[in-house]
C-alpha cells in the first residue's frame, strides 16, 4: 500500500520527508509538493500519514494484490495521547472506528535526564547492574539473578 499525496491538500511542508524511515517521500521540484518516489520500498508504516498536518497523504493497497476501493485513515494526537483509525471496506459493508492510547504521560517529561542523576558508585560499576537496578528488575529489594542465586552451572556440550 504505497502512500500517495493529494495534490490539493499538500502544501509542501516536508514533514513526511523528514520522518519517512525509508527515505521515499520527496518533494517534487516543479510542483513543490511531496510524493512517494519508490513505492516498492514502502512498508505502509503510516509514519508519513500520521505526520502530515493536512491529512494530505493516504495509502492505496499494493497493486499486485490489493483491489481498489478501500480506506484506512488515521489521526494521531500527541497532546491527547490517542490515535484514531477508520477502516472502510471495498464493499462498503464494514466501516469501523477504532481508538487507542499512545501514551499515558505528557510527552517526554517522565524520562530521566541521566546526566543529572547521581553517579554510580565504584561498587556498582564493578557489578553486573544497570541504571535503576536492582530495584527495577522486580520493584522490590531483591538482587540481580546470578548463576549462584539460581543454582545454575554452565556445562560444556551437555546433551540434555
Amino acid at each position: 500500500m504505497p502512500t500517495f499525496v493529494y495534490m490539493t491538500r499538500c502544501d509542501g511542508c516536508g514533514q513526511c520527508v523528514d520522518i519517512c524511515p525509508s527515505d521515499i517521500m520527496h518533494i517534487d521540484k516543479s510542483l513543490r509538493r511531496a510524493y512517494n518516489i519508490e513505492p516498492n520500498m514502502c512498508w505502509e508504516c503510516y509514519s508519513c500519514v500520521k505526520a502530515c498536518p493536512h491529512h494530505a497523504i493516504d495509502v492505496r493497497g499494493y497493486a499486485d494484490f490489493a483491489p481498489l476501493g478501500h480506506s484506512v485513515r488515521v489521526h494521531r494526537d500527541e497532546e491527547k495521547g490517542v490515535i484514531a483509525w477508520r477502516i472502510k471496506f471495498r464493499n462498503g459493508k464494514k466501516d469501523m472506528d477504532l481508538l487507542a492510547p499512545i501514551t499515558t504521560k505528557p510527552w517526554g517529561q517522565e524520562i530521566p535526564q541521566l546526566a543529572d542523576v547521581a553517579a554510580p558508585s565504584d561498587e556498582m560499576r564493578n557489578s553486573e547492574l544497570l541504571f535503576n537496578e536492582p530495584k527495577y528488575v522486580r520493584l522490590d529489594d531483591g538482587g540481580l539473578h546470578t548463576l549462584e542465586s539460581n543454582g545454575l552451572k554452565l556445562k560444556e556440550g551437555v546433551y540434555y
Partner: protein, 623 residues
C-alpha cells in the same frame, strides 16, 4: 567532489543505528559515562526508525519475575528449545535477567502497558509476551536516547567502520554520508556500538512489483548490522539460521496475538487439523530430544517455530492448501474482534488495508496464511549475528574476552540484531542489550583501551572515494547510451538487488525452491555471488537517494555471502521449516551440536569457518 567532509572528533561512544538496540545503548551510556561524548548516527529519523518504526502491539520478552511468573533460566530453556538447541545461553540468561528493568522503565516513561484487571499484573498474551498500546513505542524510546546523547545525526547512512592504524583489529569510528545533503561524515570514536538492523529483501520476496515493500521485516532493514561488522573482520555466528515466518498471506500481519490471546488455530483446506500428522516423521528427522510429541503434550512444551513451519509447508506440498487461520469463532466476541484489528493497526497497518481491500472480515471468513521468504536477523526466533563476549559472572572462558557484548574486534560492540546467538530478545531484549553494551563500552574506555587510536587522512580519503564511486560510475557510463536503464558497463541498485534475491532464492533455500538447498547448489551459488560481488563494484547511482540504495545493497550482499558460507559449513538439517540441506536431511547432534563461527578476512575476502562449543546452563525440565 563537491560534497563536504564533516568530521566529528573525540567521540567516546558512537551508536551506529538507533532502533531499539541503539536507543537503549545511547540512553544507558550517559549513566556510566557522565562526561563522555555520546553520538548517534541514524540512517533515517530516530523518532521513526528501525523495525519498531510503526509500533508494536506486544512486548514479546518480559519475564515477570516481579509477579512470580518466570525466572531468566526459564527463558533460556524456552529459547534453546525453540532454536533446536543453538543458543548462547550465557548471553540469553544475561539479557533475560535485565529485561524486566527496561520494561518497567518504559511504563514509567508513558508506554501504555495493558493490565490484567483481576490480578493487577500485565496482560499476558502468552508466557513471555505482554500486550501494549505501542503505536508510539519508538518515539518514546527515541526521546530517552535524545536526552542522553550529545548529538544525534539523522539521515546518515553509515557505510563502513573506521579501523585503528596503531593497533591491529581495533575499531576507530565510522564513516558514511548524509542521504539528503550528500555530505561525507566522519565519526572518530573510541568505541562503536552497532545497533543497525538485520536483513529483509535478501531472498526473493513472494510479492512482486509494488508489493515488494510489503516484506515481513522492514524494507529499510538492510543487513547493515552484518555488512558493517563483516567488512571490518568481526567474527559472526549462526548466520545460516535464517527465519521463515508463517503469517497472514500477502500482508504478513502478525499471528502471535491471534494464536495466543484470541485462541485462533489453523486448519487445511478441508477444515482439518494437520500439524500432528507430520510429527512422527519429523521426530525421526530431528530426534526425540527435539520433538517428542507425546512427551511434549504431557509437559505442555511448545513446538519449535521451525517445526510448525515444516508441518505447514508439508501440508501445502501435499496439495491441501491453503492453510487457514480459524478466526470465525473468536471474532464473534466483539471485544476479541476489536483486539484483532488493533493488533494490526498497532504494528502492521498494511494487513488491515489488505483485508479492507479484499473484503475479508475475519468474523465471517477464515483468512489465509502463508510461509514467508527467509529473513536474516538476530532478535526474533533466530540468532544470526556477531560472535560477542558474554558477562564476566556467567560466561565460560571461550565466551568471555573482557567486555560484555564486545565483538571479536576491540572496541566494537553490538546490540539487538547485531549480536549472534541471542534469539527471542525482540524489542525489549534488544533495548536491554544496548544498555549492556553501553555499560561495557564505558568500562572499556575507562580502562584506557581506547587510547592512542590513529586514523590517517588516507584511510578517510580512500573511503570517501569508495563511497561516492557509484555516482562517478553513473556519470561516466550514462553518456554512452541514449536513455533508459540498460547499460553495458553498470547495473543500478534495483537490478543488483533483483539478482541477489533470485540467487539467494534459488541456491540458498528460498521459498521458490521450498526452502531446499544442498552442497552443490551452495557451491554454484557462491561462484555466482563472487561474480555479483565484482559487478557490484560497478553499481551506479543516479543521485544521492540511489547511492543510499547502492550501499544498502552492498550490506545485503555481505550478509548474503555469510549466509551462504555458514549454510555450506553446517552439513545437517538443523531447522526443518527454516531450510533443508537435501544432502543431509537429518539433524546430526554428533557432529553439529555446536555453534558455527566465521570470519571474513578484510584484506582477501576469504572465509574461515570453525565450530564453537555449546554450553548449557539449564536442563530440559523445569525445576
Amino acid at each position: 567532489m563537491a560534497y563536504k567532509t564533516i568530521i566529528e572528533d573525540d567521540i567516546d561512544v558512537l551508536v551506529a543505528g538507533a532502533g531499539l538496540g541503539g536507543t537503549g545503548a545511547a540512553f544507558e551510556a550517559r549513566y556510566w559515562g557522565k562526561d563522555k561524548k555520546i553520538v548517534i548516527a541514524e540512517k533515517a529519523n530516530i523518532d521513526r526508525s528501525g523495525a519498531v518504526a510503526q509500533g508494536l502491539y506486544a512486548i514479546n520478552c518480559y519475564m515477570g519475575t516481579r509477579w512470580g511468573e518466570n525466572n531468566p533460566e526459564d527463558h533460556v530453556r524456552y529459547a534453546r528449545m525453540d532454536l533446536m538447541g543453538m543458543v548462547r545461553e550465557d548471553l540469553a540468561f544475561d539479557m533475560a535477567r535485565h529485561v524486566d528493568s527496561a520494561v518497567h522503565q518504559f511504563e514509567e516513561w508513558g508506554l501504555p502497558l495493558m493490565r490484567n484487571p483481576e490480578t493487577g499484573s500485565y496482560m499476558r498474551e502468552g508466557r513471555w509476551q505482554i500486550m501494549i498500546h505501542g503505536e508510539s513505542y519508538k518515539p518514546i524510546v527515541a526521546e530517552a536516547a535524545k536526552k542522553s546523547a550529545d548529538k544525534v545525526f539523522n539521515r546518515i547512512c553509515v557505510t563502513h567502520l573506521l579501523m585503528d592504524e596503531a593497533q591491529e583489529n581495533r575499531v576507530a569510528g565510522a564513516v558514511g554520508f548524509n542521504v539528503r545533503t550528500g555530505n561525507y561524515h566522519v565519526f572518530k570514536a573510541k568505541t562503536v556500538i552497532v545497533g543497525a538492523g538485520g536483513a529483509s529483501n535478501i531472498f526473493k520476496p513472494r510479492s512482486v512489483g509494488e508489493g515488494a515493500g510489503r516484506v515481513w521485516y522492514a524494507p529499510w532493514s538492510s543487513g547493515s548490522a552484518y555488512g558493517l561488522m563483516i567488512e571490518a573482520g568481526a567474527k559472526m555466528t549462526q548466520m545460516e539460521n535464517r527465519i521463515v515466518l508463517a503469517r497472514f498471506k500477502d500482508g504478513y500481519g502478525p499471528v502471535g496475538a491471534y494464536f495466543l490471546h484470541l485462541k485462533t488455530y489453523t486448519q487445511n483446506c478441508n477444515g482439518e487439523e494437520y500439524e500432528s500428522k507430520w510429527f512422527p516423521a519429523l521426530t525421526e528427522m530431528v530426534g526425540k530430544a527435539y520433538l517428542d510429541t507425546e512427551g511434549q503434550h504431557l509437559s505442555h512444551k511448545p513446538i519449535p517455530t521451525c517445526l510448525r513451519n515444516h508441518a505447514f509447508i508439508s501440508e501445502v506440498n501435499a496439495g491441501r492448501g491453503p492453510i487457514h487461520m480459524v478466526t470465525m469463532e473468536a471474532f464473534q466476541d466483539p471485544h476479541l474482534e476489536e483486539i484483532g484489528w488493533h493488533n494490526f493497526l498497532g504494528m502492521t497497518v498494511g494487513q488491515a488495508v489488505l483485508w479492507a481491500a479484499t473484503d475479508v472480515d475475519p468474523k465471517y471468513e477464515n483468512p489465509e496464511l502463508t510461509t514467508s521468504e527467509p529473513y536474516v536477523m538476530g532478535s526474533h526466533a533466530t540468532g544470526c549475528g556477531a560472535w560477542c563476549s558474554g558477562p564476566e559472572d556467567v560466561s565460560p572462558p571461550e565466551y568471555f574476552w573482557g567486555y560484555n557484548r564486545m565483538t571479536s574486534v576491540a572496541g566494537l560492540f553490538g546490540a539487538g540484531d547485531a549480536v549472534g546467538g541471542t534469539p527471542h530478545a525482540f524489542s525489549s531484549g534488544s533495548f536491554t542489550e544496548g544498555r549492556l553494551s553501553a555499560k561495557a563500552a564505558c568500562k572499556y574506555i575507562d580502562d584506557g583501551k581506547g587510547e592512542g587510536i590513529v586514523v590517517s587522512s588516507k584511510q578517510i580519503e580512500d573511503r570517501k572515494k569508495e563511497i561516492y564511486k557509484p555516482l562517478e560510475t553513473y556519470t561516466v557510463g550514462r553518456n554512452e547510451i541514449v536513455a533508459g536503464t540498460v547499460n553495458p558497463n553498470y547495473i543500478n541498485p534495483r537490478q543488483g538487488l533483483d539478482r541477489l534475491q533470485k540467487l539467494m532464492d534459488e541456491y540458498c533455500g528460498g521459498f521458490g525452491v521450498n526452502y531446499m538447498t544442498n552442497d552443490k547448489l551452495l557451491q554454484i551459488g557462491l561462484k555466482k555471488m563472487k561474480i555479483l560481488g565484482e559487478d557490484l563494484e560497478k553499481v551506479a547511482a543516479e543521485d544521492i537517494h540511489e547511492l543510499l540504495r547502492a550501499w544498502e545493497l552492498k550490506h545485503r550482499f555481505l550478509t548474503s555471502e555469510s549466509v551462504f558460507q555458514h549454510t555450506l559449513f553446517r552439513k545437517e538439517t538443523r531447522w526443518p521449516g527454516y531450510y533443508y540441506r537435501g544432502d543431509a536431511m537429518k539433524l546430526d547432534d554428533e557432529n553439529w551440536h555446536v555453534l558455527t563461527v566465521s570470519r571474513r578476512d578484510p584484506k582477501t575476502g576469504e572465509y574461515t569457518m570453525e565450530k564453537a562449543p555449546l554450553y548449557h546452563l539449564v536442563g530440559d525440565e523445569e525445576g
